[in-house]
């Protein structure tokens, strides 16, 4: 590895549990932050699907001394690019701007998180938006199939889609959203990742001043429920059939993590990976095909996706499933491991050029591991992989617990 590690990572945990983790990046003018709140759709009460998303839209519509327009104007004037959204585990607020505007931006977001107005009159516009987002999702089969796959593969609530359903969004009451804000937006379990042109002592003090008075809340209890089915088809009159499948993988915190990442990448993480080569390059079966890795704290999965015409969908599914079986059965080649390593290492170093990516990576590392991995550590772990160790992992993958979902005009013959 070159000496890209001229960065410094620092961390502070405030008495209320809020974690600040920051990285000073030489050579950039920008600064970015990612605030993860333990308030994702997984923590929505029964029957309120979409509440976390709706709330993330509501909090910016007036906060502290500013009304809705003043909040957005103040952020625009500081040149802040920002997004507030709910995912399964977290509600996240991500923002980037020039380094000198970072703390003024954090001041505005402290109001947004701690002192949103939550005016009743904003609820119906937000509901209308949320319903339209659901309709737009129906018009986007490639995205829709992945949401539906997660819902079938992960036990509830871990595959719960953040947009909710038309029924739950139509029914959710303002008071439910206020309660969700009061109970789930809490400092214990929240992580603020900051990266870029920053002054650490000033940042640490400013965050303490802005968020120090935030009162901790209770951990919600979650009841897991089995989902499924493991084989399913959604009927839709589209040009292409969408094929999506998932099977379990090692989590980020697991000692087998790097082996799982290697297996996913070699299967479908880059242009000479197996799926792209076999499905697209050799057979011309589709335009888009990939495999990706995603993790929660206690479970992780490898997801595969392909979209293709009805008359070629069966072959595409068959080839994809056969490639997963070949990986499990025959393992990997030394050259594939080298390629996978080069790709991941380059991506890590290039991440050092984006304050936005780094702030997200810092927060995410802290969430999974309670610490931040250095480039040297990741690099060493990748170097320690051998074709035998990755092959051994691939052989142990839980491909029998595979979920397969298709969406399109006709169903396919699924493997047993």
């Amino acid at each position: 590895m070159p000496d890209a590690a001229a960065t410094v990572v620092t961390q502070h945990t405030y008495p209320n549990g809020l974690v600040l983790v920051a990285e000073t990046m030489p050579g950039v003018q920008s600064a970015a932050f990612t605030l993860l709140l333990p308030a994702g759709s997984a923590y929505e009460p029964e029957g309120t699907g979409g509440a976390a998303s709706m709330l993330s839209e509501w909090i910016t519509r007036g906060a502290g001394d500013r009304d809705s327009r003043e909040v957005l104007s103040a952020l625009d004037n500081l040149g802040v690019s920002h997004g507030e959204s709910a995912q399964n585990l977290h509600t996240s607020i991500a923002a980037a701007t020039l380094g000198r505007n970072l703390i003024p931006a954090l001041e505005i977001f402290a109001d947004v998180v701690l002192r949103p107005h939550l005016d009743d009159e904003e609820v119906e516009p937000i509901r209308a938006l949320a319903l339209q987002t659901l309709r737009s999702l129906e018009d986007d089969p490639g995205t829709k199939v992945i949401y539906e796959l997660r819902k079938r593969h992960f036990p509830d609530p871990w595959g719960r889609p953040s947009p909710g359903t038309p029924e739950t969004v139509a029914a959710v009451a303002p008071e439910t959203l206020r309660t969700f804000h009061r109970e789930r937006y809490r400092p214990n379990g929240a992580i603020l990742g900051v990266a870029g042109a920053i002054d650490w002592p000033r940042l640490r003090d400013a965050v303490g001043h802005l968020f120090g008075g935030w009162r901790p809340g209770a951990e919600p209890s979650v009841v897991e429920r089995a989902t499924g089915p493991a084989r399913d088809h959604i009927l839709r009159e589209t040009q292409q059939i969408q094929i999506a499948l998932a099977y379990p993988a090692a989590t980020v915190a697991s000692p087998e993590y790097y082996r799982a990442r290697a297996a996913a990448a070699i299967l479908g993480g880059y242009s000479s990976a197996r799926l792209f080569t076999e499905v697209r390059e050799k057979r011309g079966l589709c335009y888009s095909v990939y495999a990706s890795y995603e993790s929660h704290r206690n479970r992780a999965a490898i997801l595969c996706y392909a979209g293709t015409s009805a008359d070629r969908a069966q072959q595409t599914l068959d080839v994809t499933v056969a490639e997963i079986a070949r990986l499990t059965r025959d393992g990997i080649e030394a050259e594939e491991l080298e390629t996978m390593r080069a790709g991941l290492k380059s991506a890590l170093i290039m991440q050092q050029e984006s304050s936005m990516s780094r702030s997200g990576a810092l927060a995410s590392d802290w969430f999974y591991l309670g610490r931040v991995r250095s480039l040297a550590e990741i690099s060493a772990a990748l170097d320690a992989l051998t074709p035998a160790s990755v092959s051994e992992y691939a052989a142990s993958q839980g491909t029998r617990e595979m979920t397969i979902l298709t969406l399109g005009p006709n169903a396919l013959v699924m493997p047993v």
Partner: protein, 414 residues
Amino acid sequence: MHFHNTVLDNGLHVIAELNDQAHSVACGFFVKTGSRDESKDVAGVSHFLEHMIFKGTPRRDALAVNRDFDRVGAKHNAQTSEEDTFYHVTCLPEYLPQSFDVLSDILRPTLREDDFDTEKQVIIEEIKMYLDNPMSVAYEAAKAAHFGAHPLGQSILGSVESISDMKVERMREYFAKRYSPANIVLAFAGKTQWDTVIDLARKHCGHWAGEPAARQAVAPRGSGSFQTILRADDQQQTVIGVADGPPLESPDRYVAQLLATILGDHTGSRLYWELVDPGFADGAEVSYQDYNQAGTFYTFLSCEPGETQENLGRITDLYADILSEGPTEEELTQAKNKVLARSVLMSERPMGRLSSLGFHWTYRREYMAVADELEAYNRVTLDDLNRVLRQWPLLPLTIVSVGPTVDVKRPESE
């Protein structure tokens, strides 16, 4: 930051913006050719050729192309627009020689017939994928409606028919005419040395030959037509409005960019407050697109089918209002702050700099440092905005509405 440029004997322009602070280096070939340069019988050939470029050379087959990029962790891709085809790679500085060896090699492809036949299927799948996306369908139709017979209205992807019927000989002819070195700019951004750049360019591209290519870039005039397309199974209605704007040759492109931000940035703009904040639409945005001797303001709308007519009325009222009253000083300042901060963020990655560098050089033979670009935005005044609005008045829009309702009319307030 240091800028360098030279022209090889065969006419290939080579430019580089070097930045020692960067961790990576990006490089790309900017071929001045796209769907506007196609004759009707080879519709989609520029984009199809972009795919075929990755299918192999005398030294490498398609699998070797992908493998040789991936082996050094290089991120490569390509894109085809109405007027440019852009091939790029980003890698760690120590792997630039290997990465550039592949990127330059593939720009002189074999174009083998059996690869051509396999890739045809992939292109057809790509077309079908976009046919399942209402916004893509609306965008293609809106360009065709606005530009009419002007070549900017031609589809980038072509159609299932034009691609199915295409012969490999026609692609080879097109390649020979359009990929001559004098029609290409080679650009580098990030961490490397100018000596390295020059050596690589001479070694790998010095022998390229071909006659200079020409483009007849005639300024178009938008049709202002109105069209509805039924897609009964869609849930939302998707509408695109198109109006003429300043061409890329004009210094007014900075004014146009700020105007589009004021009107229709995804947050905090006039359209945002009028349509998205009240929940009338889940998307309402304006973007300014500049072309060789042409420019357009695109208005994008996504809403419930039953709200379409009212939303079109709101948009045209809003445009009529800004034409008569003009934007405010506060709006201009806010738009500048947004655009400036975004430019800085984007420029921090070599890949973010590369496309701006390459396209500037392709069309203007001019270098603009980030600071120059920021200054060009800073100089814009309210008078500039009002002048550009008078010259390019947004109305009447060419409108294409796509979705489950055809019960939509041209708004009356126009």
